[in-house]
């Protein structure tokens, strides 16, 4: 099947609009990354990371262990920290989880966690996988929807993302979408 965008596709105002939207989202994400200095390499070069930066890094490490894979935007991690800070019970559960070893094998099994820690773990998972916190969509959900963890885990990109015309006739790829994926 022909993977090239058609003339009409290339020149459709709607397609261009959507492409621009994706570009803006990608740009926004990139700026967020730069702004929050997310990578561990860069973090290691920082002599004295701010308390907030340390908290973001810790939350991302915890999120990665809980979620099982994927990529994590530091700006969104910061937003999640703010959401936790507004709920004492959930914040307590988060503190408990952060105090545990980061490696999954050494962490407390799900069933042995305290109710607060279980609720906090579930909140973290639902936030990254579904863009939801305490049963409601998070403020930036429309911007991050196609990059939610639930879609990152799939073998095919999120719906609304253009794929190959007719590629649907072939057996599905079973290759993870990202090298970050397990």
């Amino acid at each position: 099947m022909d993977p090239q965008p058609t003339h009409a596709e290339q020149h459709s105002p709607l397609v261009m609009q959507l492409h621009r939207r994706r570009l803006l989202l990608a740009t926004g994400a990139a700026l967020a990354v730069i702004g929050f200095v997310p990578s561990h390499d860069l973090a290691a070069q920082t002599a004295t990371p701010s308390p907030n930066q340390r908290a973001i890094d810790q939350l991302i490490d915890l999120s990665r262990a809980l979620c099982g894979g994927g990529t994590f935007d530091p700006g969104r991690a910061d937003m999640l920290l703010n959401l936790f800070s507004a709920d004492n019970a959930l914040q307590g559960g988060l503190d408990t989880l952060l105090a545990e070893p980061a490696t999954p094998s050494a962490a407390t099994p799900v069933t042995e966690r305290s109710p607060e820690a279980r609720a906090a773990a579930e909140a973290i998972l639902v936030y990254w996988y579904a863009g939801v916190f305490k049963g409601a969509p998070v403020a930036d959900r429309s911007a991050v929807y196609t990059q939610l963890q639930a879609w990152q885990a799939m073998y095919t990109p999120a719906w609304t993302t253009c794929k190959l015309y007719g590629g649907w006739a072939d057996p599905p790829s079973l290759t993870p979408q990202s090298p970050e994926n397990p």
């Binding site: 459709s12 809980l66 996988y129």
Partner: protein, 551 residues
């Protein structure tokens, strides 16, 4: 050329869905002064997608459309937000009230009815006959396919004989379709490519790009590869038609001779206006159209407009749908194709129709989204069950890639007591909400049971597990029958062109005209009937007939 002197326009069209848009386009092309009114606003595609993504149910049919207080509509997840239901069965289909109408969220399936659908009473002794035959409509089906751009297989007619070719080749079957095809063959059934109004050619069609498999046809094709009526709203505007959005028509007036003289419409700020015209076309779908007719009561028309037969609002039909889903033994690859590319059409006709409803089978490419378990919802379910870490990641990928569903769209007979009337409850701008008394009879229930039995066989043949027959009936969104056409003014509302028996300058368009439901998704038939009516309306205006159907 006829003059519009004394009138605001030649023809006022209420509703800008596929029927209103096509008629408006044809009449504007013929030279008529056309005004198309719609109760809702113009939709912005990017804003619609953002709206869907910010909601918990991102892929339900109305996820991309606002609920405008001046033009409320049944919500997918709660149709009773607008419909006032009095039972006995729940009516769960919905529609959009925006410029372009419900084609914004339709699937794009462009099947024709089959010949016996037009002769149900004569052939099987149930339902009604249509006032025209399949052969009468066939040239207009062809015209409709070329007008809206249908991709289909010229070799496989799906039981509807053809006099010409499709304008575009069929879309490839999905990998999932081919797996179903193998299973169906063992049962003596055949999987065929579904004709669909979705661009399949690289150069595009009607300024629409080719489909790119973004798997979001419902609620909204992100790139406009699927036909929606905005195409012909645009063409109508190019030909000189005026579009008045956010104009909620709530009454039509008649003169002493029974001619309709003007309509009244209300704006979101509750101010009222009028529009006079020589001819009126009501194309506001099968619930809003009868509502408007019933609201147009007067001393001389106590039952409402065009309702001397007392058939307005009656015979409400849908295609009650059996939804069944399962886990395929091998990866099938959903979420990378149009939501459905194939179906099984072998079960749409037979002697059994004397006893029970026929059905067609739609094969989905959308995993378990319809039952409410799209990947995002599924992840929440697994998280709630305590799954996390790499196991969560693995399960989301491996379960979704094998998730399959089928839907059986079952025929429903016209029943006089299955109807739409006016509620005494009002909407936000003081207009009555529709009251729906919906009935599904044993004819249809037995069709649903037959569909369940077929699905059990099909999934066994596929080697599927976790087969789930959804017990709640699903709505297909195929609302039909509420201002039916016929040959007798005593038992029908219009003639075969949609011209009302009672008021010769009032024409009705849309699936409310259907005397029976058949099993084909109704949009192509709506388009064919609208294209067939347009030249008659042009003639009534004194213009030469609009373009004849393609040979």
């Amino acid at each position: 050329m006829p003059q519009s002197t004394g009138f605001d326009c030649d023809v006022a069209i209420v509703g800008s869905g596929i029927a209103g848009a096509l008629v408006g386009w044809k009449l504007a092309q013929a030279g008529a002064k056309v005004v198309i009114l719609d109760s809702g606003p113009t939709v912005n595609r990017v804003e619609g997608l953002a709206l869907a993504f910010s909601s918990m149910a991102s892929s339900v049919p109305d996820a991309t459309y606002k609920m405008n207080p001046w033009a409320p509509k049944p919500a997918t997840l709660d149709p009773n937000n607008y419909l006032v239901q009095t039972g006995p069965d729940p009516f769960v289909s919905n529609y959009e009230r925006v410029v372009g109408g419900t084609t914004w969220h339709w699937l794009g399936t462009a099947l024709r009815l089959i010949p016996s659908d037009f002769r149900l009473k004569s052939t099987y002794g149930v339902g009604e006959d249509w006032p025209l035959s399949y052969d009468d409509l066939e040239p207009w089906y062809l015209d409709a396919e070329r007008t809206i751009g249908v991709a289909g297989d010229d070799i496989e007619d799906n039981g509807s004989p053809r006099s010409g070719t499709y304008p575009m080749p069929p879309h490839p079957l999905s990998y999932s379709d081919t797996q179903f095809s193998e299973a169906a063959r063992t049962l003596g059934l055949k999987v065929t490519a579904t004709p669909q109004a979705r661009v399949s050619i690289q150069e595009g069609y009607n300024k629409r790009p080719r489909c790119c498999g973004n798997a979001f046809c419902i609620p909204m094709c992100p790139i406009g590869a699927k036909y929606d009526a905005m195409v012909h709203v645009g063409f109508a505007k190019d030909a000189g038609a005026e579009i008045r959005e956010n104009a909620v028509v709530f009454k039509l007036d008649t003169d002493a001779n029974g001619q309709v003289t003007q309509l009244h419409y209300r704006s979101p700020d509750k101010t009222d206006s009028t529009l006079t015209a020589k001819q009126f076309v009501i194309a506001a779908h099968a619930i809003e159209t009868p509502k408007l007719l019933l609201m147009s009561i007067s001393d001389t028309l106590p039952r409402g407009l065009a309702n001397s037969s007392d058939q307005v609002g009656r015979n409400l039909m849908d295609h009650p749908t059996q939804l069944t889903y399962a886990m395929a033994p091998n990866p099938m690859g959903p979420f990378r194709a149009p939501l459905s590319t194939a179906g099984i059409e072998d079960l749409r006709d037979g002697e059994f129709r004397k006893e029970r409803g026929a059905f067609r089978i739609e094969l989905g490419n959308d995993g378990w989204s319809w039952p409410g378990l799209d990947p995002v919802a599924w992840s929440q379910k697994l998280i709630k069950e305590g799954v996390e870490g790499r196991e969560l990641y693995r399960q989301i990928a491996e379960l979704n890639v094998r998730a399959v569903r089928v839907a059986g769209l079952v025929e429903q007979l016209p029943l006089a007591d299955s109807r739409v009337t006016l509620s005494d409850k009002l909407d936000d701008i003081g207009i009555p909400r529709p009251e729906v008394h919906y009935i599904i009879d044993d004819y249809t229930r037995n069709g649903l049971k037959a569909a369940q039995a077929r699905f059990a066989e099909l999934f066994t043949a596929l080697g599927a597990t976790a087969v789930t027959q959804v017990p709640q009936l699903q709505g297909a969104g195929h609302i039909m029958g509420t201002y039916r056409m016929g040959t007798d003014a005593k038992t029908s509302v219009t003639n075969s062109y949609g011209q009302t028996w009672d008021h010769p300058n009032v024409w009705l368009a849309g699936s409310g005209l259907f005397p029976t439901a058949g099993t084909a998704n109704p949009t192509l038939t709506i388009a064919a009937l609208a294209l067939r009516a347009a030249p008659e309306i042009a003639r009534a205006l004194g213009y030469s007939a609009a373009t004849p159907p393609a040979a």
